[in-house]
């Protein structure tokens, strides 16, 4: 009877996970999706504790002790971490999951050793695979964590790829030898464990910091697979499905993330990844710039209250005035307030921006002169600079040697977020570098203004 109820609980939990993941895929429902998944998890945990026949009530004290300890530490860590450090936190927690999977395998193996003949070879292989994957996930995640915390630097062995493949071969060789009975010493599995952990290190070490999110996502799906193996081991459906779900969804997510960053998953898998990444992200000449995607920009704006658009000559070149107006309307439909900051010399003739924006029917009331808008930037959530450069160049205020020194500019830096949309890092009319692009608040959205604005409009509908 108990088992039946537990089975039912597991069914419900499994579908809570599925629905939860689905809901996590839409901004409006994401929060509720997360809660739903958490609720499913809670049900599964307590169901297991109280209804699983093999759980001995005598061990309750240990179980609850561990639960309370883990919950307290996990909660505090998760609550204290700063927004900017979220990714490493995810990596850390992922590593914990991987370690948990490895530990389970070890204990199970111990059981297997002490009760020979209780499991099939398939059983053993699955157990070992779960352990390896868990260990790789654990050590890899820890390195990823360290890298993002900037405690660990990039590091590359001379023939990294060859070494990686060798280690993998040795691991699989040992597994075969062990399960086929060629090697019998139980300690072998600790060697396998150690090699797996080492592989995790080797795998993640050479990869550049910028690519960590992809790696974390991949390790995340690894842990999912390890969990699925655990589910197979115990014939436990909720583990199985939860694991497979994360394994498949996580892998696809990794692919999608790679795609968004113009990489292929193949590169990740053979460890060749970091090298290329470093090369292609070296756009900035001085300082570092941060890129942003149209989708992220759209989401950022969607959830903003005050948006200011700063049009410049690039808007005119791209003839993006119509789609700019469209973006304005879309944002307003989302409840944001949109204004245009018109710099007196934006463009190439007096009133250039007025002519363009009037053409696309932008309301005159939305066009603010520099002096009127400058004080407002402080309360602006997002400034979208569209093909403007000199008119937002802080050198005009800071650098007496600059040819534009003394020209009043739009103080976009005062806003919470600055998105600069232009095609490249090329200079504007005055031919000078713009330190705004290197400002920590600034993110660059590279592309032709018309094309990117259109993408923003489209993404706004999805985000």
């Amino acid at each position: 009877m108990k088992t039946f109820i537990l089975d039912l609980i597991y069914i419900v939990s499994a579908f809570a996970f599925i629905v939860g993941i689905k809901m996590l895929g839409k901004p409006v429902s994401a929060k509720r999706g997360n809660l739903l998944a958490a609720a499913g998890m809670t049900a599964a945990i307590f169901g297991t504790i109280f209804l699983n026949e093999s759980v001995m009530p005598t061990n309750y004290v240990w179980i609850f002790g561990a639960l309370i300890l883990g919950s307290a530490v996990g909660y505090v860590m998760a609550k204290k971490v700063q927004m900017t450090q979220m990714p490493q936190m995810v990596s850390f927690f992922n590593g914990m999951g991987g370690a948990c999977a490895a530990l389970i395998s070890i204990v199970e193996f111990d059981h297997y050793i002490h009760h020979p003949g209780t499991g099939s070879v398939a059983h053993l292989v699955i157990l070992l695979l779960g352990m390896i994957i868990g260990a790789v996930s654990f050590s890899g995640s820890m390195i990823a964590y360290g890298k993002l915390e900037e405690k660990i630097k990039d590091f590359r062995l001379p023939a990294q790829q060859v070494v990686n493949i060798l280690v993998l071969l040795v691991i699989f060789g040992l597994i075969y030898a062990f399960s086929a009975g060629i090697v019998v010493n139980p300690l072998t599995i600790y060697i396998i464990l150690g090699l797996a952990a080492a592989y995790g290190l080797l795998f993640v070490f050479p990869i550049g910091g910028a690519d960590m999110p992809v790696v974390i996502s991949l390790l995340n799906s690894f842990t999912g697979v390890a969990t699925a193996f655990g589910g197979f081991l115990y014939d436990n459906k909720v583990m199985l499905f939860g694991g497979i779900l994360v394994g498949s969804a996580g892998t696809l997510l990794t692919v999608v993330m790679c795609r968004a960053m113009n990489r292929s998953l193949a590169n990740v898998l053979i460890g060749n990844f970091g090298g290329k990444a470093a090369a292609s992200s070296g756009r900035a000449v001085t300082g570092t710039i941060k890129e942003i995607s149209a989708a992220d920009t759209a989401a950022l704006m969607k959830y903003s209250k005050n948006v200011v658009i700063v049009p410049g000559y690039g808007l005119a070149v791209a003839q993006a005035q119509h789609v700019c107006h469209e973006l304005e309307l879309s944002l307003e439909a989302e409840g944001a307030q949109v204004k245009y900051a018109i710099h007196p010399v934006a463009g190439r003739m007096p009133g250039h921006m007025n002519v363009l924006l009037a053409e696309s029917n932008v309301d005159y009331d939305k066009l603010l002169e520099m002096d009127d808008i400058n004080p407002e930037f402080k309360t602006t959530d997002v400034v979208l600079v569209v093909g403007a450069n000199d008119v937002v160049n802080p050198a005009a205020k800071n650098d007496p040697a600059s040819p534009i020194y003394g020209m009043p500019i739009l103080d976009v830096e005062d806003a919470a977020n600055v998105i600069v949309m232009k095609r490249s890092m090329r200079a504007g009319y005055a031919g000078i570098e713009n330190e705004l692009f290197f400002n920590p608040k600034t993110r660059m959205l590279f592309g032709d203004a018309k094309k990117m604005m259109q993408e923003l409009v489209n993404e706004l509908k999805n985000a």
Binding site: V345, P350, A358
Partner: protein, 367 residues
């Protein structure tokens, strides 16, 4: 059938009733065309162009009159010209037969058939013949250009290094054909456009062109008939003037087109209202020939009152002679091919268009 056209005699009239392109069409349909030498010159249609189109050029007015079965003109002929017409021939032109009785009678006396273009019924199938519309349309555009040219301000908003120039405010009276085109043109130039009219359906029409409609309660005393204002009581006009004051005070350019067919134009801007207008502002009174919407307007003159320029230019379409003549000629073509075949008029008095436009014939005064 021979169609003739002559040089217009009205002062500063640049238009001509037939264009080379339309002559060509007529000739293709089997008609013949005779044009007075130099008739199209002011509209930049050379004699050579007419010849090329297949028309023949007549050296004198009288030659045209003598040859033609039907004379096409823009303006009604002067009384002196009437005797030159061949008796039994026909005349198509604006005639304003209601206000132009002596002319009508003299034409009728010579047994000339007179079709008045301004009497064209405003029905769907007569739209191609509707010269009032085609000319009013051009006039609406021209009024805005004149306003922009006379104003000391530019129409669009511009934010420049030398400060922000606010957009001009253009106030338009009457959203008929001319008024609507004026809205479109002023909007294009970047002005903020406000419009007043007393026909209720104009609100939507004005807004369909991006203008702001000044709504006020017109009450019951406005009578609309067939899309025209038939009558608007003095109380309505008084209320309207009151509402318009604050709009006038802010306006940079005012364009008035308000008309009530067959009546004197309503006086919508009185002395007091001009006084509250900004010095430097401009009124272009398109209703000036019907008495004007502004009390000071003088036909054919631009006067300054209280710093306000009041432009009373008449005959705006004439200033757009090429376009206006071409459009008028096309109206004539549609009209004449409806009225007649190459062998002569049909005189189909059951036809609404013929019946509506034929003023007199064979010595019978029909209207």
């Amino acid at each position: 059938m021979i169609i003739g056209s002559v040089k217009e005699t009205r002062e500063s009239e640049n238009r001509v009733a037939l264009s080379p392109a339309v002559c060509k069409q007529f000739i293709k349909s089997g008609f013949q065309c005779v044009i007075e030498s130099g008739a199209g010159a002011a509209a930049f249609f050379s004699d050579a162009a007419y010849l090329e189109a297949g028309a023949s050029i007549a050296g004198s007015v009288s030659e045209v009159y003598a040859k033609s079965d039907v004379i096409c003109k823009v303006n009604p002929p002067s009384l002196d010209e009437v005797p030159l017409f061949r008796s039994g021939s026909a005349l198509i032109s604006f005639a304003y037969h209601l206000t132009n009785r002596p002319l009508v009678e003299s034409v009728n006396a010579r047994k000339i058939a007179l079709f008045s273009m301004d009497a064209m019924p405003r029905i769907s199938r007569a739209q191609t013949m509707d010269a009032l519309s085609s000319q009013a349309n051009l006039a609406g555009y021209k009024a805005v250009i004149i306003g922009a040219n006379e104003s000391g301000k530019i129409f669009p908003m511009l934010m420049t290094a030398a400060g922000t120039i606010t957009p001009a405010k253009v106030l338009i009276f009457g959203a008929g054909v001319a008024g609507l085109q004026a809205i479109g043109t002023a909007k294009r130039l970047g002005a903020v456009v406000e419009v007043t009219d007393i026909r209720p359906e104009t609100k939507e029409e004005v807004e369909s062109l991006g203008g702001k409609f000044i709504s006020f309660d017109t009450g019951g005393s406005v009578k609309i008939e067939g899309g025209y204002v038939k009558e608007a009581g003095d109380d309505v006009l008084a209320r309207q003037r009151e509402i318009l004051k604050k709009h006038l005070a802010a306006a940079d350019v005012v364009i008035t087109t308000a008309l009530v067919p067959g009546k004197k134009a309503p006086q919508l801007i009185n002395e007091e209202m001009v006084a509250i207008m900004k010095p430097g502002s401009v009124i272009v009174d398109m209703a000036v020939e019907q008495g004007g919407n502004c009390c000071f307007s003088e036909a054919g003159r631009t006067i300054v009152r209280n710093g306000v320029k009041i432009v009373g230019q008449t005959n705006l379409p004439s200033q757009l002679a090429s376009n206006a003549s071409e459009s008028y000629a096309k109206n004539i073509y549609a009209f004449l091919t409806h009225l007649a075949t190459k062998d002569g008029f049909k005189w189909d008095m059951n036809d609404e268009i013929t019946a509506g436009t034929l003023i007199c014939r064979d010595g019978n005064l029909l209207k």
